[in-house]
């Protein structure tokens, strides 16, 4: 393959990977923006999303087929169920601590506990084995020169774009979105204005978790196999993406995810990096960025203490 076709191929790969990172990063950023909590368990929510989608496809696959219709059904079911799981986690694990005005370190450690519970729970349920997503999606696609972009890839990127645009509309054009933005600015004032703060935070968890679940299902379909530990690394990467874009910023999370996806796939092509070192490369970027520009590309600078 020529150099230009390698670049094009990697661009497509990077865009797909970046889409998954962006969807997960959005949940991180939304929750962080509204209650300043680093939801450590968010990567595991993505993993649970993949498994719920897998189970749903198993149940509905016979009825709707394992083609796009079945996958769409699995995606929607997974988004709703995992969204509810996110709300449950917020109510059971985080809200009691927020009510007590516990130090942020306690909430962070609770989030580690939630992460442990989720991935070990799935490990027990699946005996720690890999599960393979059986879909009947082929490799047909559009050929551009020597490379082939499959319809699956096109649909993945479009679906991500649709989800992001809907989110953007939801945050900026609806009353609930307005409430979220207001709470991010001043919680106490919102309470005085009659906004149900707890319920709005719950809703944020629902939306963030649903987006992560969507990414989980799509990643499962795209890569073909899922595993209980798949959320760990992507959780880290999505956090990196959220920081690159500026944590708390929604367009930032979208942009950060795409940038990280592209950088990482570019990294695998670099000498001395390669695929064995790509995670080191990504975390290296994170550490470098946090040191040089902790506010990210689109983030606002703020002075904060724990």
């Amino acid at each position: 393959m020529s150099v230009s076709s390698i670049i094009l191929q990697q661009l497509v790969n990077g865009l797909i990977l970046g889409s998954f990172y962006s969807l997960v990063a959005l949940g991180y950023s939304m929750v962080y923006g509204i209650i300043k909590l680093l939801n450590f368990a968010h990567g595991d929510i993505y993993m649970v999303g993949a498994f719920v989608g897998f189970a749903a496809l198993g149940v509905f696959g016979g009825m709707l087929g394992t083609n796009w219709l079945g996958i769409l059904a699995a995606l929607i079911i997974s988004m709703i169920l995992v969204g509810l799981l996110g709300m449950l986690i917020h109510r059971v694990a985080y809200q009691p601590l927020i009510n007590k005005r516990a130090p942020r370190m306690s909430i962070l450690i609770t989030a580690v506990g939630v992460s442990f519970t989720l991935f070990n729970g799935v490990m027990v349920l699946t005996n720690g084995e890999y599960q393979s997503f059986n879909t009947s999606l082929g490799f047909e696609g559009i050929g551009i020169g020597p490379i082939n972009i499959t319809y699956t890839q096109i649909v993945m990127v479009s679906a991500t774009a649709i989800l992001m645009l809907s989110l953007y509309w939801f945050i900026n054009r609806t009353l609930y979105g307005k409430a979220m933005r207001a709470i991010a600015l001043d919680q106490d004032a919102c309470r005085l204005m009659g906004i149900n703060v707890t319920r709005t935070i719950s809703l944020t968890f629902f939306v963030g978790s649903a987006l992560a679940a969507a990414a989980g299902v799509m990643a499962g379909v795209y890569y073909g196999s899922i595993h209980f530990f798949m959320g760990f690394v992507i959780g880290l990467k999505a956090f990196t993406a959220a920081v690159i874009g500026g944590i708390g910023s929604i367009p930032g999370a979208m942009l950060g995810g795409l940038i990280l996806g592209l950088l990482e796939t570019a990294g695998t092509q670099l000498p001395f990096v390669g695929s064995a070192w790509k995670d080191v490369f990504a975390f290296g970027i994170l550490i470098l960025l946090l040191v040089l520009k902790p506010t990210g590309i689109l983030g606002k600078s703020e002075i904060e203490r724990m």
């Binding site: 007590k100 516990a102 975390f283």
Partner: protein, 318 residues
Amino acid sequence: MGNSKQVIDSLMDKLGGKKMRNTALILLAALVLLLPLAADNYVEEVMTNTFFYILLALGLNIVVGYAGLVDLGYAAFFAVGAYTTGILTKMGWDFWLTIPAAVAFSLLAGVIIGGPTLRLRSDYLAIVTLGFGEITRIVARNLGITGGASGLVGIGRPSIFGFKIYQISHFYYIYFILVVLGIVVALRLHNSRLGRAWQYIREDEDAAEAMGIDPVLTKLYAYMIGAAFGGVAGAFFAVKMTAISPETFAFTQSAMILLAVILGGMGKIPGAILGAVFLVFFPEIFRGIGQARMLFFGVLLIMIMVFRPQGLWPERRS
């Protein structure tokens, strides 16, 4: 809930009495010293393992408990120590000479990770330390000198004054001595000028800075000392196991040590010890439930944070 808390607190007060405490300590030390005479290999192995985690928990307690910094990658320091000793003994160094090297490299790792990141907000720090832990593991897996994915095997057993240390009861006593030393160091640090500076920073960083304490430097000391504990523990771990592999130092390991510190009560030495004991005993006692025990760990962590965020035996703050 409130009532049971009062009962526990009053119990702790009674135990905290000086006379009571000294008697209890002497009894405990005698029990630990005499245990190998009566116990079988399994019990000695579990106890040695407990000592090992106590040492790690004491080290992490300095970072998390004293200075209030979240560290989700503590296993990295322990890995650096273990690999340093492993590589150097295989190159023909005497084990005892590798300990200073292991400490030096762990300190260096502490400076590398702490230097640029300690200015950050603490929740960022959590993720950076997590990333650093992963980097360490991946580096160990990819480098030739660390033996790649299969790790180092056949690390030589040490000897002292010609006496070869190889039995589990030998390691039992060595680890016990390490724990006692660790407790002394941790206790001395807690009551030192530096220890007070850490607590001040933990409670109010701005006020501490206004009083002339350099927060970044003080935090860096906490990181380095915590790292040194991990390095020493790692060096002894390498010679006890004689084989180390990158997966020994995965995130779960860091999370477990953190759990021990939090469980027992951050900032308090008996708390860290209690947490480590619980951490080792719990899976041994509940061997029957197998994989699910980690699930219970997660649930337990959430419950402790929600119902008793200060830990089982927290530091009393005036």
